[in-house]
């Protein structure tokens, strides 16, 4: 059981990190390209929501 928790903990961390990096990165790229300042924030929010949704799919549905 402890093993399962350990795994869940690191998976969740990994998903949250990936979410922020990927969608935040896309937002940052859009900001650079279009010379705006709002897409990084939107990207980070989309990323973290996606990551939380994914965590729920993996661990919350059972």
């Amino acid at each position: 059981m402890a093993n399962r928790d350990e795994n869940a903990m690191w998976s969740i961390f990994g998903y949250l990190l990936s979410g922020l990096i990927f969608w935040g990165g896309i937002g940052y790229g859009l900001d650079k390209w279009l010379d705006k300042g709002i897409f990084t924030l939107i990207g980070l929010l989309v990323g973290i929501s996606g990551a939380i949704y994914l965590v729920w799919l993996r661990f919350g549905r059972e």
Partner: protein, 261 residues
């Protein structure tokens, strides 16, 4: 040594930094003979000799030596491989066992007197271990389920609305192929790096205080005492990190073998 020289010249205390990890080559200018590399070879020799000796005169009533070797082996086999991977665990015991003993011995070098340098505080070594683990668990997954099915299950989780894949598929790719191996290696590296730095601060600091005025001399035993306490703490961290690395490797293999992710 560094601190002794500097104190003799009457300079102030310079706290340990990343420079303390850049060790010069031991034999001439050959960059392949730095301390961490020699320690890796030493660890391989130590582990091999220990387990060959402990297994050679195997008897039904084990000697203390054989008992020690077998305890480590059965710990990895029962607590890590069997419990995590399940009925196919026997194939992976050699890999996990090698991983565990190799990391453990190299970590313990950090507190063994006269050696006192954790090899894994050089990031390249954890990188290589994580890379080999990464190749193992993807290979196992592909062999077991076929490349197409294996990647399809990672990328497209069943039972999710189609539109959501745009949002979550990139995250799955990033998690599985980048974040996992990176966190695996960086966790080991950062723990060993920080632990070594911490010991340096207290022990070199205590030494420096000892060379100060009488008031500072009186404080220095406390710095050494904390250094000793932290050495025991480091021992715990070093064992724990070797365990966690192996545990996560086993979990990733188990995940690749499982039919449903």
């Amino acid at each position: 040594m560094r601190v002794l020289l500097r104190s003799a010249e009457g300079e102030g205390f310079v706290p340990p930094s990343t420079k303390d990890f850049e060790l010069p080559p031991i034999f001439g200018d050959n960059v392949y003979t730095t301390k961490p590399i020699l320690l890796v070879f030493l660890s391989v020799i130590l582990i091999s000799v220990f387990f060959i000796l402990s297994a050679r005169k195997a008897a039904i009533v084990p000697s203390k030596f054989q008992f020690a070797g077998e305890s480590v082996y059965s710990f990895v086999r029962e607590n890590l491989a069997k419990e995590v991977i399940g009925h196919e665990f026997m194939r992976f015991v050699p890999y996990l066992f090698t991983l565990f003993t190799f990391i453990l011995v190299n970590n313990l070098f950090g507190i063994i007197p006269l050696i006192q340098f954790p090899t894994m505080s050089h990031v390249s070594f954890p990188y290589v271990l994580a890379l080999s683990t990464y190749l193992v668990f993807h290979y196992v997954g592909i062999r077991k389920q076929g490349a197409f099915k294996y990647f399809k299950e990672i990328l497209f989780m069943p039972g999710v609305p189609k539109a959501a894949y745009i949002l979550i598929t990139p995250l799955e790719i990033l998690t599985f192929f980048v974040v996992r191996p990176l966190t695996l290696s960086l966790r080991l590296f950062a723990n060993m790096f920080a632990g070594h730095l911490l010991l340096l601060v207290f022990i070199l600091g205590g030494e420096h205080l000892l060379q100060g005025v009488i008031g500072l001399k009186l404080i220095s035993p406390f710095a050494f005492a904390i250094g000793i306490v932290l050495t025991f703490f480091e021992f715990m961290v070093q064992c724990l990190q070797a365990y966690i690395f192996t545990l996560l490797a086993a979990l990733y293999i188990a995940g690749a073998l499982a039919d449903e992710h």
